[in-house]
Subunit: 111 residues, 2 copies
């Protein structure tokens, strides 16, 4: 595996590769190497989302997602659930971003 | 905005930032600057997923997702739909990755 961040990859491809790499970095620690145990999930959240978890506003988003995961909790998070988790957090971050840049989008400049 | 790829961001945070940056890079081209028109979506797919689209196997995955988007198609893709799209592609890539490394996970080494 020599393609961690190949120069010819697009930003989006890099994002996808980073998600896959991150999942497998933690999923291999214990039990099924292709799923995250709840402990592995929490470690991943702490290690990978420290900057976000340090922010009270985003802590809210994380807890909401954790509760969602609890609903169908079999103690393991597979890659699809991981991607849903990351996606939900990314949507929350984007909402924050939009709110922050709200004034940039004034509708008044027709043409 | 000076935080494109801050050194102290984790891989997962970088992935999330890359997804947000990529969406807004294309969503601002025409119409609503916070949604992708179908033209913007196709441009994004072509520009950002060239390496994947070049591969027949993944072309299948993209078309499947495109059809899913068609179902509730109002001509615009918002950030949540974009994240679902990227997530589905990432899951497809991960499946490919798992298939490729299938032999690494032989169940036979109990203990």
């Amino acid at each position: 595996m020599t393609s961690q961040n190949p120069e010819n990859s697009s930003n989006l491809e890099n994002a996808m590769q980073l998600m896959i790499q991150t999942f497998h970095k933690y999923s291999g620690n214990e039990g099924d190497k292709y799923t995250l145990s709840r402990a592995e999930l929490k470690e991943m959240l702490t290690q990978e989302l420290g900057n976000y978890l340090g922010n009270a506003q985003d802590k809210d988003a994380v807890e909401k997602v954790m509760n969602d995961l609890d609903a169908n909790n079999d103690g393991e998070v597979d890659f699809t659930e991981f991607v849903i988790l990351v996606g939900a957090l990314t949507v929350a971050c984007n909402d924050f971003f939009l709110e922050y840049h709200k004034d940039d989008n004034k509708p008044g400049e027709k043409n």
